[in-house]
C-alpha cells in the first residue's frame, strides 16, 4: 500500500549502532519531514510528534492486542512445543482483554499501586537499594558498572512485595525478558524456541508461587493473597487472568525501570551542574527524575499497536491490521511540547511525560517505578557517592529492537559518604 506523503528517502536504521548512541538527529528529521513515517523493514508507521503520540496512545481504533495484527507473530510462537498452554493466559493479559474485563482486572491491582499505597513501601524500597549498593561495592572496585546496580532493584522490590522465594527470582527475570522479546515480528527459529522455553518455565513458576500461597496456613495480607482470594472466593478473576496479572506485575517493571534508572545516572553524571543543584536541594528529586526520562529516553520503537479499521492518522491513511508505533524519544524532544527541548533542565514544571503511556494502558506500576528511581538516585548520587564521575563511555545494546538499554555504564564512585543517619 502506498502511504501518500510518507515516502521519503532517508536512511532510517534504528538497529544501527550510531542510532542507539544518538537517535536525536534522526528523530528531529522525522518530526519535521515525515511525522508519520513508513518504516519498510517492519512495515510499520512510526509517529514522532508529541500530539501524535498522545493520539496514538489513546486511539480507540489502535489495539494493543497482537491478535489484531496482520503479521501476528503469535502463530509462530504457538507452534513451538509446549507453548499451547499459554494461549488462554496470553489472551487474558491486560493488553488483550476487552475494555470491560480490562477495567475489572486492572482495578484489582491498581488500588495497591496508588501514590498513597506506594508511599508506604518507601522504607522497603530504600532497604533494597541500600543492600544492592552494598553488594555492588563489596569487591572494593574503583570503577563499577552501574547496570549491575540498577539490574536487580525493581525485580527485588516486586518479588519482596509478592513474597517470591529467592530461588525463583532469576527464573522470573528470564521469563520477563522472554515476554519482551516475544512482541516482535519475524523472529528467527532459535529465538522463538528460547522465548517459548522462557514462557514454559515461567508458567511452572507461577503455578508454584500461587499454590504455595494458597496452602500457606498464615498467608500475609498482601497483594498476592488478595488477588488469589479474588479468584477463589469472590470469583472476580479467572485462573488465566490471575496468572497473567501476576506475571505482568512481576515482570513488566523489571526491565524498563532498570534502563530508566541507568539512563538517569548517566544523564546526571553528564550534567554535573544540575547534579550539584539536586544534591543541594532534594526537593528537586521528582522533577529531576521526570526530566531524565524526557531528555534521554531509553525507548526506541516501543510497543506496536494495530489498526482495527481503516482510518486517518495525522492526515495519513492507515489500513486495517497495519502496525503503528510511537517514537517516544522523538516526541519527548518535540519543540511543540517543550521550550528549548534539547536542554536538560531539572526545573521544568509539569513535564507532560508520556514515558509511562496515557489512558487505558497507562503503566500500572508508574508510581512504584518513579519511587524506585528516586530512591536509587537519592541514595547513590546524593547520600553515598556524591563525587561519582563517568569513567568512560557507556555500552548501549543496539540489537535490542524496542529499547536502547545501557549494558555497561562505567562509573568511578569516589569516597563513600556512608549510610544516611535516620
Amino acid at each position: 500500500m502506498n502511504h501518500k506523503g510518507t515516502i521519503v528517502h532517508f536512511d532510517f536504521d534504528p538497529d544501527s549502532e550510531s542510532f542507539a548512541y544518538d537517535p536525536y538527529p534522526a528523530y528531529a528529521w522525522l518530526r519535521t519531514n515525515a511525522p508519520v513515517y513508513h518504516w519498510e523493514k517492519r512495515d510499520t508507521l512510526l509517529l514522532s510528534r508529541l500530539e501524535d503520540l498522545r493520539t496514538f496512545l489513546t486511539h480507540e481504533q489502535l489495539s494493543t492486542d497482537i491478535a489484531d495484527w496482520e503479521h501476528h507473530p503469535g502463530g509462530q510462537l504457538f507452534e513451538q512445543p509446549g507453548f499451547e498452554a499459554w494461549g488462554s493466559i496470553i489472551a487474558t493479559s491486560l493488553f488483550q482483554l476487552p475494555p470491560a474485563d480490562h477495567a475489572r482486572v486492572r482495578k484489582l491491582a491498581s488500588v495497591a499501586l496508588t501514590p498513597r499505597a506506594v508511599r508506604a513501601m518507601e522504607g522497603a524500597v530504600r532497604a533494597t537499594v541500600e543492600r544492592t549498593l552494598d553488594d555492588l561495592i563489596a569487591n572494593g572496585d574503583e570503577v563499577v558498572n552501574i547496570r549491575d546496580f540498577t539490574e536487580t532493584i525493581p525485580l527485588t522490590v516486586i518479588c519482596d512485595l509478592f513474597g517470591v522465594p529467592s530461588q525463583m527470582r532469576a527464573g522470573f527475570r528470564e521469563f520477563g525478558l522472554a515476554a519482551i522479546r516475544s512482541v516482535q515480528p519475524n523472529l528467527d527459529p532459535a529465538v522463538l524456541s528460547e522465548i517459548a522455553n522462557g514462557f514454559t518455565q515461567g508458567k511452572v513458576l507461577l503455578e508454584q508461587l500461587i499454590e504455595a500461597r494458597r496452602t500457606d496456613p498464615n498467608p500475609p495480607a498482601d497483594l498476592l493473597t488478595r488477588l488469589i482470594e479474588a479468584r477463589d472466593e469472590a470469583h472476580r478473576l479467572s485462573t488465566a487472568e490471575l496468572m497473567s496479572l501476576i506475571f505482568a506485575l512481576i515482570t513488566a517493571g523489571s526491565d524498563t525501570t532498570v534502563h530508566g534508572t541507568c539512563y538517569a545516572v548517566f544523564t546526571l553524571l553528564r550534567h554535573p551542574q544540575a547534579l550539584a543543584e539536586l544534591q543541594a536541594d532534594r526537593s528537586l528529586l521528582r522533577s529531576t527524575i521526570e526530566e531524565t526520562l524526557r531528555w534521554d529516553s531509553f525507548g526506541k520503537i516501543g510497543l506496536f499497536r494495530y489498526a482495527l479499521s481503516d482510518f486517518e492518522l495525522a492526515g495519513v491513511p492507515v489500513r486495517k491490521g497495519q502496525a503503528v508505533s510511537g517514537l517516544m524519544g522523538a516526541a519527548l524532544r518535540d519543540p511543540n511540547g517543550y521550550a528549548d527541548p534539547d536542554r536538560f533542565d531539572i526545573h521544568r514544571e509539569n513535564v507532560a511525560n508520556l514515558t509511562f503511556g496515557l489512558g487505558r494502558h497507562f503503566c500500572l506500576g508508574a508510581n512504584l517505578a518513579r519511587t524506585e528511581m528516586m530512591k536509587a538516585i537519592e541514595i547513590l548520587l546524593i547520600e553515598r557517592f556524591p563525587h561519582a564521575t563517568l569513567a568512560g563511555e557507556p555500552v548501549i545494546d543496539h540489537h535490542n529492537p524496542i529499547m536502547r538499554p545501557i549494558d555497561n555504564l562505567p562509573v568511578r564512585l569516589g569516597a563513600d559518604q556512608g549510610k544516611a543517619k535516620a
Partner: protein
Amino acid sequence: MRLIIDVIACEANGACTRILPEALELDDEDQLHLRLAVIPPELEDKAERAVRVCPRQALRLEPSKP
C-alpha cells in the same frame, strides 16, 4: 463548565489535584472528589490542563446545563 470524573478509570495518581486543588481533592482512601459543581471561568484554563495531564484520561469538561 462542568468537570466529569470517570471513577472507574481514575487511579488516584493525583496529577489533577496538583493543578486544580480548588476543584479536585483526593481523600485518605484514594477517592477523588469534586468540590465545585461548576468550574468558574477563571479556573477553566487550569481545568483544561488538569484534563490534559491526567495519565488515565479520566476527566472531561462539559458545558454546564442551562
